[in-house]
Each structure stands twice: as C-alpha cells, then as structure tokens.
C-alpha cells in the first residue's frame, strides 16, 4: 500500500544497466501499482485550499526517498525512521533508495503540519513529517540515531563525471524500400495497419464525462479518430474548452534514417491534431526517446544525435516547441537493439465544438485529397504545411468539413477504408495515387461545398450509400475489407468472446405501470454518495445529480484504522438517514478484489448500522437508491436488487459475473426502456432507446429463466441491451457482456432501488460526438423529480 519495500530496490539503477539473458532472474524487481491509493492523492490535490499551501511537490518514483525528497531543497535532514514502510526489516540503505509508488513529498511551512495531516486523514491517506529544510548545503539522512548519509549538495549536483563522446553520423537514406505489391485487403490485414479495437476496448474511455471523440466512432463503433479530445475537467459547470492530443512515430522510417524518422514523427503528430480539428499554431510537443545502449561506439551515438537534429529541424521549421520529454537509453539485450525511437506527442488546447471524426457521415459528399509536397531531401514543405493547416482549421471552424483524416503511413486506401467502416458508407474513388503506399502529409476530406483554394484540394471521388469501396473501378465490399482489417490481431486482442451466451429469453415490455411518488415534497433532495477505496465515479455522479437539481454530497469512507472504520460507518449511517437518495457510484472498490467485484461496498452495507439506515430509507422514509456499475454490483450482491432487502446470497440469487469476453470492456451500448415502474425511469416511455457507455469487467447479469420471468412480470427489468432498431439481443456486438435476457438494469419490487451497468452519468454536451443515439438518459432528473 504505497509503503517503501524491498520490491523496489534498484528500480532506477536496474533500468539503467545493461541487460543480458539473466535479466529475468536477477534484475531489479518491479513494483505492483496500487491505483486506489493514487486516486486518494488525486482527490486530496483537488482541494484548492490545500494546494495553495504547497510550495513544492515531488512524486516518488524509481529513485525513492533519496531522489523524491532529496530534490526538493538543497539542504535537508531526512529522518528515515519516519518513512512508512511496508514491512519491518528494511535497513537504512533500503529505506533511502527503494522505489515506491503512490507517494508524494510536499514542502510546506512548519505551522501547516497539523493541517496537512488532518486533510490527508479525511481522504484516507497517511501524512508524516519526514524531513526538515536547513541551510547547511548538505543532504543528511538519519536512521536509528546514526547519520548514514552526509553529502554536500555541490558534490551531488555534479551528477558525476561529465563524460564526453565523439560521434559519427551515417548518411540518411529515407527513401521508401521497394515492397511487394499487395491487395488492399492484404494491406489492411498487415500488422501495422490492422485494427486494434480489441486492445483499445480494454481501456475505460468514458470516465470523467469529458471524452469528445470516442476511440471507435460511427454507428459501428470502429473508426479510430486521429487524436484524442477531452473537455477540461470541471467539478461544476460546462465548457467548450478542451485539449487535443496525438502521437507520431514510424519505427521503419526511423531505422532507415533516425533524422527523417524524428522529422516525420513530429509532422505526423501535428497533422493528426489538424485532422481532428485542432489548430497547428496552438500545438506544443513532448518527445519520448528510446535508444539502444550507446557504449563508446561513435556510430551508435550517431543515432540519437541524428534523431534529435531531426526533431530540432521540425520544431524550428514549424515554429513549434517541444516543452517536455523523456529519454530512455536502455534498449539493448545481448546483441539485439531496439530501433532508434523518437515518438512525438502533440498537444493543443482548443474547442470541443471543432472536433472532427474521420468516419464518412453522408452519402453523396465529395472526397478530396490535400497533400503537402516534400523536397529533394525528402523533407516536408513546412511553409505549405503551415498555410494549409491554418486553412483547414478555418474551413472546419466554419463547418465546411464533414469528416477528415490524415492518411499517414498506412496510406490512402487504408484511410478511405477506415473512413467507410464507421457508418458503413461506401466511396467511389478515381486516383493515380498508389493506394497502399505511405501517405504522410496527406489529408482525406469529406465535404459538400467547395473547399478554400489555398488547400489545393484534389477531388478523388464521392461517398455512396452502398457499403462498397470502389477504387479505379475495382470494388471491395466493406464487409470483406473489415474482416481482413480486424482479423489479424483477433487472436491477441479479441473483440468477440470465444463462447458467447446465445440463448435469448424474451422479456415483454411492461406497460402496466403503477408508479408511486414521494409522499412529501423535498426540494432539493439530498443525495449521499459514498466514495470507497477504489471508487472512481463519485465526481461524475455528484455533478449529474447537481445538474438535475439535487444537493449532492460525497462521503469518503476511511479505513486506515479500526477507529476510522467505526467513524466512517457512523458517518455513513447518519448521512443516509439525513438524505433522500443514496447513490453508489462506479469504480473498482478494493480493486474488484478479493476475486470478485463490490465485495468491499457489500461488506459496508451489511454492517448492521448501515443496513438499518438503508432499510429505513427505502421502507419507512420513501427514499431512493441508485447503483451504477460497481454500485449495481454492490446492490445485487447484498440483495437490495432484485429483492429490496439485504440478505445473504444463495446459489440461485441473481448476480453479475465476468463478461463473456473475460476482460474489461469499454464501449457504448444501446439500451431500451422495458419498464417505467421505477421512479428512476419516470421521465421516459417504455421502448425509449439510449446510447450509454459501459466500462466494466464484471457486468454479465446472471439469473435463472424462472427468475427472469418473475422479474419481467413484476416490471423489475428496467432496461435491456438491444440493437440499433431496439430489439433486445444476445449478439455480443450489442450485448457486450453477454447478460442473460440482455438485462442491463433491474429494480427492487417497489422500484425505489435501481441498479444498472451503463454509466448514465457520463454524458454532456460534445461528449462522444462520433457516437450515434440519445446519450442523455434522464435517470437523475427522474430521481430528483420524485421528491418535487
């Protein structure tokens, strides 16, 4: 739990040493992460009263105490005995240099110590005074009454002997190698072009309710945008301000010429931002270098030198600066070396309303190419790039561009195919370009009106409603191309489960609604949202409730000591008794451990004090309970859904288990409203469809057929996964976790308790623009309205 331990000794020096084939046995060990603890630090640092008292902050990493604290001030006395450790038996050296994760060192004025300890405690974090700033010019560490380090800062800051090198730079040859002619299908199936959807869908894309371009866009959720775009993270209010971020790197070009590789990495990252709707002149860069061990070999030193000169040339020509970067010089194993690697990350602030996704949106649009030429040295015409990028930005801001994509090294054919896949809109293309060749510095644009002349756009075709991509008369069905594109990495990163659940149990729509309304009006109703270790959706949930008119409060459940637990249980029970709504938010309480989700929350709810308050809320006080994702898991595991009471589960109780695909899924699903019996569903009609983001590992609803029928008869099935036409489905593309009877959400018999997997709170203006459907499910408004 974030303590210093032996598992991190040598983290910094280990990654800096040369490695051979004994690496697996004797190298520095690797630490495991503890995300719930880091989440607590994030929460603590959102407290602006506290952050305004921090003079300097440094995070712990590979260098451990010696570096994290040692870097803060020139003169320090560190008390190693005060450093919290994972287990006893660590000696002074280990305490000083062990890598430790999930820790921060902050420098504050002495009179703030008690304040910081108290505030950290509120967030379930430990805060200890470990060092004092002096003016001795020395770094001193004391342990068990002895001074074990006493070094002059001057000496430490020399960074050792400055080494010197002589460098030889090889001739750059950036020309494309002659490759065998391949068909478009074969090209789409090649390793570096193939779809990575099965990889991407493991990663939560929706938390924060700020993702503007969903990672896989269009009605088919398949076309990857050129850049990631997210709105600024606000605790309250709405904004159109956002950031765009992209990357660029081609290991093959970098191997042929590190210089051109770096130039193109930067250019590509910049072009992707432009293609997504960002503005070139607002871009700032950060670079990642990764090279083989250089030793004393002048020609090996030539690799990073050429690469950095390429990066310099691109920055100088584009008038864009790299303001951050990281280098790793450890890319060798015996005689093997990594390719000279310089990855460019481009970041631009901008507006969410400008963000464009690449999938074609209309049949009958014009498709044009906008290209920037290269000179004799195969370097981009940077002046043309700057002019064209600005013209594209203006045209896009005026709404002249429907879709846009930077073709990049996969080329024009692959680019067109990916633009077609998203909405199954075809294209008819005539072009002299080699469609499988690399096409960096080439934008593909869908538009209806003429583009500005500065773009020198070249019309190459039109979009068509038939799902076919026709290039110079040769037709390919999108189905065939997509199968090739998605097939290659399916064995590594599957998009579909091996053994999907297929049997459908029909659930009729529940039309005999007899919903009640709160007996007394309370405006605004109070919502209590507990945040457990590992909860991650409390901010989004509180914001959704506040925007719906409620007074929402987050309560951090603390458990560092027995006393904390006692206090937290009492606070939670009291807060529930003073609230009208209990909301259990999403996340991974206790990391979905031990071996199953929501066990931590369920254990808290079973505590007699909390259980009484919960039952009093729904039985006697007309209150409501909502659980989303992890919250739903807690409700079902305690019995609150579907039974409406806390009970021990038996072998036949409904539950939520691992998704059929046996990994985390992050995607949008269409759900239909089956019953409006619950107050939470009051603002909709039976049959309404919504697009809601899913993000979970254990979301497969399990129940016997008899139980499903019983729930259906009582109107307790709130929502089901369905296809775009609204038909409930067992097809994993529409029912991504394989839920029995395609059930997404259920209620208690009285309807006052709703549990659902889909994150209805992760919605907002400009969110997931490239996903179709109604993304505003009025659950929160309905819950608040119950008390009006």
């Amino acid at each position: 739990m974030g303590g210093t331990g032996r598992d991190g000794v040598g983290g910094a020096t280990g990654s800096s040493k040369e490695h051979d084939d004994t690496a697996l046995e004797n190298s520095a060990e690797v630490q495991k992460g503890d995300a719930p603890t880091e989440r607590k630090i994030q929460r603590l640092f959102r407290n602006s009263e506290l952050t305004k008292k921090i003079k300097i902050c440094n995070d712990f990493g590979a260098g451990g105490v010696s570096v994290a604290i040692g870097e803060i001030a020139p003169s320090l006395v560190i008390n190693l005995d005060a450093v919290p450790k994972k287990y006893d038996g660590l000696d002074g050296t280990e305490l000083a240099i062990s890598e430790s994760q999930e820790r921060m060192a902050v420098c504050v004025e002495r009179n703030e110590i008690d304040y910081f300890i108290a505030e950290a405690d509120k967030e379930n974090l430990e805060c200890v005074h470990v060092a004092d700033v002096t003016d001795s010019g020395r770094l001193i560490m004391n342990w068990r009454g002895m001074t074990i380090v006493d070094l002059s800062r001057e000496f430490l800051d020399t960074n050792g002997v400055q080494l010197s090198a002589t460098i030889k730079v090889a001739k750059a040859d950036a020309s494309d190698p002659a490759l065998d002619k391949v068909s478009l299908s074969e090209h789409l199936a090649s390793l570096n072009v193939a779809s990575e959807k099965g990889l991407g869908e493991r990663f939560d894309g929706s938390v924060g309710a700020g993702t503007v371009l969903w990672p896989f866009g269009g009605s088919q959720q398949i076309t990857p945008p050129d850049a990631m775009v997210a709105k600024m993270p606000l605790l309250e209010g709405q904004t159109n301000s956002c950031t765009y971020m992209s990357w660029g790197f081609d290991p093959y070009l970098s191997s042929r010429s590190p210089f051109h590789g770096a130039v193109d990495a930067i250019t590509e990252s910049v072009c992707k931002i432009v293609a997504a709707g960002g503005r070139l002149r607002d871009i700032r860069l950060t670079l990642q270098e990764y090279f083989p061990k250089l030793g004393q070999d002048p020609s090996r030193w030539g690799l990073p030198l050429a690469s950095l000169l390429g990066a310099w040339h691109a920055q100088h020509s584009l008038r864009l600066a790299a303001i951050g970067g990281k280098d790793s010089m450890s890319g060798s194993f015996n005689e093997l070396d990594v390719p000279p690697t310089l990855v460019s990350f481009a970041l631009a602030p901008g507006f969410a309303s400008h963000a464009r996704s690449p999938e074609f949106k209309l049949a009958g649009s014009t498709i044009s190419l906008v290209k920037i030429e290269r000179d004799r040295d195969l370097l981009p015409d940077f002046e043309a790039l700057k002019t064209i990028a600005e013209a594209i930005h203006q045209a896009n801001a005026q709404g002249d561009i429907v879709s846009m994509h930077h073709a990049g090294s996969p080329g024009i054919g692959a680019g067109l195919a990916k633009m077609c896949f998203g909405n199954l809109i075809g294209a008819d293309i005539r072009t002299d370009e080699d469609i499988t060749a690399s096409a960096t510095l080439c934008f593909i644009i869908e538009h209806s009106d003429a583009l500005p002349p500065e773009l020198k756009a070249l019309k190459i075709g039109t979009t068509v409603s038939e799902p076919k991509l026709t290039i110079n008369g040769e037709s390919h069905t999108l189905c065939e191309l997509q199968a090739a594109w998605q097939g290659t990495l399916e064995p590594i990163y599957p998009t579909l489960p091996g053994i999907p659940e297929t049997r459908m149990i029909e659930v009729p729509l529940f039309t005999t609604c007899m919903r009640d309304h709160s007996s007394s009006a309370i405006t605004p109703p109070r919502v209590i949202i507990p945040a457990f270790p590992g909860t991650n959706s409390e901010y989004d949930s509180a914001k959704a409730f506040r925007e719906a008119g409620a007074q929402a409060e987050i309560l951090v459940f603390r458990n560092l000591t027995t006393q904390h637990i006692e206090e937290s249980v009492k606070q939670l029970a009291e807060a529930i008794s003073q609230s009208q709504i209990l909301m259990l938010p999403g996340g991974f309480s206790a990391g979905d451990e031990p071996d199953g989700s929501a066990k931590f929350i369920a254990t808290v709810i079973r505590n007699p004090r909390v259980a009484d308050a919960v039952m009093d809320l729904i039985k006697n006080r007309d209150g409501l309970i909502l659980g989303i994702c992890n919250g739903f898991q807690a409700l079902i595991k305690t019995g609150l859904v579907p039974y409406g009471e806390i009970r021990d589960p038996d072998a036949d109780s409904p539950t939520l288990v691992h998704n059929d695909i046996n990994r985390h899924i992050s995607c949008y699903a269409t759900t239909r409203v089956v019953s409006t019996q619950s107050p939470w569903m009051a603002l909709g009609q039976v049959g309404d469809l919504h697009a809601v983001p899913l993000s979970h590992g254990e979301g497969k609803f399990m129940a016997s057929e008899a139980m499903v029928k019983q729930l259906a008869v009582k109107g307790q099935i709130a929502t089901q996964y369905c296809d775009a036409a609204g038909k409930p489905s067992m097809d994993p593309r529409f029912n991504p976790n394989g839920s029995v009877a395609a059930i997404e959400g259920i209620t208690s018999p009285c309807g006052r308790v709703l549990g659902k997997m889909g994150h209805s709170e992760r919605a907002g203006k400009q969110v997931a623009k490239n996903i179709h459907g109604d993304k505003l499910q009025p659950v929160f408004k309905a819950g608040v309205g119950y008390f009006s």
Partner: protein
C-alpha cells in the same frame, strides 16, 4: 490460521479454460487433459466463526464458487501453488483483509493468497516443470508448498549500515563490480576523491547507493548530458549536417556559446529559440519540474475567461514491463499520472503507445531469457488498463506499433494530460525551517 480453497464453478472458470488453452497452444502437451485453478486463502487473526462468515460473504460467492477446507487430488492429478514473493503488493490479499476488518470491526487480519493450479493428465516431471516455468514469473512470484500454511517469519531487526572500509583506496573497477553499481569507474574514482579529500573519511554503503541512484541515467539523463566533443558526418552536405549547422548557429545566436554541446542541449534548443523570439508565449516557467505546463484560457458556462494550467507528460517503463508486464505497465501509468499530479493538476486524459515485436510469433521461437511477445503484449495491456480503469482515467487513444527490433526490449509509453485553475497552483522556494511531508498509503 484458517484456510479455505475457492474454485469457480463450471461455466464461470474462464481463467482455468484460458490457461489450459494457452498451455496447449504454447507448450503442446496433449497429455494435459484438464486444469483447475483454486484460490487459496490463509487467514490469521479471526475466530472460526468470523472466518466462516468471511468465507461465505467475502472470499466466495455461492452463485459462482465452490469452497473447501482441503484439497483432494485424484491419482492422475498433480498440483502446485503460486504466491507473490514476500514484499510484493498483493491487492487480492490486501483487499480481503480490508473487507474482513470492516466485517469484524477489529484489527486488520493477516491474509495470504495463493493460486493453486491442478493439472490432470499423465505428465512427466519435465513437462510439469515447463508448465511451472510458463505460469510463474520469477520476478514477482514463487512456488510454495500446496499443503503448508503461508506465514511470514517476523523480520529480524536489520544490521547497521556499514561504512565501506578501504573504499577510498581500492581499484574503482573492483568497487563497481563488488557493489553492483550502475555508475562508471570514473564516477567511483570521483567519489573516492571527494570522500578522501573533501570529507576526510570513508563513505557509508548508503551514501554510495544514494549517489548511484542519483546519478543513474534514469534519474539524471547521464547520456543526454554527455559532452559532445566532435561530430563527423558521412554526408557533409546532407540534411542532417545542415540541421547540425543550423543548431550551432541558433546556439550562437542565443548566446550559449559557452555551454557544452550535448544531446540535452539539442533537445531543448527548439524551445529556447521560440521562448527568446516570443513565439512560445504560453509556457508556464517555474523552478519546479513536474510536467510540461502551459497557460490556457478557459471559459465556463459562457462566463469570463479564467487562466488554467494544462500539464502533459510522457513516460516509459520499458525495462520493468519487459520483465514483469503487469506491474511494469501499471506503474508506467501510475508514475506518469504522478508527475502532473505533483504539479497540483487533475489528470483527465491518458494515451498509451507501445512497441512490440510480432505478437503472433509462435511460443517456440521465444528467445532464451525472454517472455513471449504475445504474453508481454497481453499482460502489459491488462496492467496499464487495470491501473487506468481503477483510478478512473479516460484513456482516449491506445496504439501498438510492431517492429522486430522491440524483441530486444519492449516500448511502453504512457502519456497524460492534466489541468487545474492557475489560481490553485502556488509555487515557492523552500526556506530553512520548512518541512517535508510524505503523503501516501499507510503502514501495513
């Protein structure tokens, strides 16, 4: 100590099915007919009644698990147990202990978790060993006896830190080898000179290890700060040589003639040029180095523009991810988040760019001393995503590039974007009398 074995019922045992499939595919082994995975918990500090309740409500779920107190093996079954190495953070055991503490309201119990793999089929000793080698990554786990209770011996009080007698007079190369140092022999000699002449004493072991950590390439970019004495271009009129000349010219114009030419200087000259010209007008300049930081106007609810800081950062964890893909990739993101977080900004967007050799390479072609590419790719994706998913960070773009060279070592990059109102970030120099506080997880 109490013990329980928990096994997923048929239909819920996807992990066992996947492992069996994986072993068939990677190792052949048609003799291996069936495979079971049981979760073993050893718990100390609970009464029998409390343990029974914890087993029923926390360690197992009756819908999906079967439980037993002992492990019965058929004659054609063999079993081995795998546990994390002492000191490795075990989220399963830790979470179980946290849940039990809430259940009892007493002190946190001692919990050990292990996975027991039961193999059915006529397997030779070599085959059994090959399965163990495949399943156990010695970097973080080890085999433990199936029958014995897990228990950590109470730690001995550690010895005092030794002073390195004779350090100042030994051969630097010998010292480097003896202490397993990453620093060069020249650095060792430099230390000998410092301790001998300036301090007039021998160093402690801690001092040398601290210096080794401080001066490591990882922490201090030793390579990037190496002075470049001489550069020879094979093609003196080519584009690389031209860029070199333009770099030197710009360095001169910026008045940096007296500064040595280093890779770091070339990496930073683009920023310096645009700062000097005024074109880089939104950089937040501070003494503190947390992450790249720019000042951005943000308008909320159509109100007046506020000044915000947008911070972004990229970081690699190549070596750790290569040898222990789950923890390596998870802490890649964890470390990356902490940089802008230490700058007091809220991280809201993540990207992951990785490089691997062909993950479709057959298992048999795995290089000695290496994990298979497929395993590295899949487990690293699991590690990175599990950290991001747990902390609640939207990952907007994930890409993996494939090149045979990455068989030497994987590329694992995390990149994040963070923001905060500028008014929330105060920066000041430390003064004598100030204190350093350490904030983080608790002592356990």
């Amino acid at each position: 100590m109490n013990r329980i074995f928990v096994e997923k019922k048929a239909g819920f045992n996807a992990e066992a099915r996947h492992l069996l499939h994986d072993l068939h595919e990677s190792l052949g082994l048609p003799q291996l007919e069936r495979l079971r995975i049981l979760q073993r918990y050893d718990v100390g500090g609970l009464s029998d009644k409390e343990f029974a309740e914890a087993s029923r409500l926390i360690l197992s779920e009756p819908q999906v698990d079967t439980v037993s107190q002992t492990l019965e093996l058929a004659s054609n079954e063999s079993a081995f147990a795998v546990e994390y190495l002492p000191g490795q953070f075990d989220q399963r055991a830790d979470s179980a202990a946290q849940c039990m503490q809430i259940l009892t309201g007493m002190d946190r119990p001692e919990v050990y978790s292990a996975r027991v793999i039961v193999l059915e089929g006529e397997l030779s000793a070599e085959q059994l060993q090959s399965i163990k080698n495949y399943v156990i990554n010695a970097v973080d786990s080890h085999e433990v006896a199936v029958e014995e209770m897990s228990q950590r011996a109470a730690a001995k009080p550690p010895d005092d830190v030794p002073t390195l007698e004779g350090f100042n007079s030994k051969s630097p190369a010998e010292i480097r080898k003896e202490l397993g140092l990453a620093m060069s022999a020249q650095d060792v000699a430099f230390c000998q000179d410092y301790f001998g002449k300036k301090e007039g004493r021998e160093p402690t072991l801690t001092e040398i290890k601290v210096l080794d950590t401080y001066w490591s390439d990882h922490c201090r970019h030793t390579t990037f700060l190496t002075k470049i004495d001489e550069v020879e271009f094979e093609d003196p009129d080519g584009p690389v040589a031209k860029a070199w000349k333009s770099y030197l010219e710009t360095k001169r114009q910026l008045g940096r003639d007296d500064k040595p030419v280093t890779l770091m200087d070339i990496a930073l000259i683009g920023m310096r040029e645009l700062l000097a010209s005024g074109e880089l007008d939104n950089l937040e300049v501070s003494e503190e180095v947390n992450a790249a930081s720019i000042v951005v106007p943000v308008s909320i609810d159509d109100g007046p523009e506020q000044e915000w800081l947008v911070m972004f950062k990229n970081e690699t964890h190549n070596h750790p991810t290569e040898i222990e893909p789950f923890g390596g990739a998870a802490t890649c993101l964890g470390g990356c988040i902490r940089d802008p977080l230490s700058g007091r900004s809220y991280v809201y967007q993540a990207m992951r760019v990785t490089g691997a050799a062909d993950p479709l390479t057959p298992f048999a072609d795995t290089l000695p001393g290496k994990l298979p590419q497929k395993k590295i790719c899949q487990i690293a994706a699991h590690g990175y995503s599990s950290y991001g998913n747990q902390i609640g960070l939207a990952t907007g773009q994930v890409a993996e590039v494939y090149h045979p060279g990455y068989v030497a070592k994987r590329l694992e990059i995390g990149a994040v974007v963070a923001a905060a109102p500028r008014s929330q970030v105060y920066r000041a120099s430390p003064s004598p009398g100030d204190v350093i506080l350490l904030i983080g997880g608790h002592r356990s």
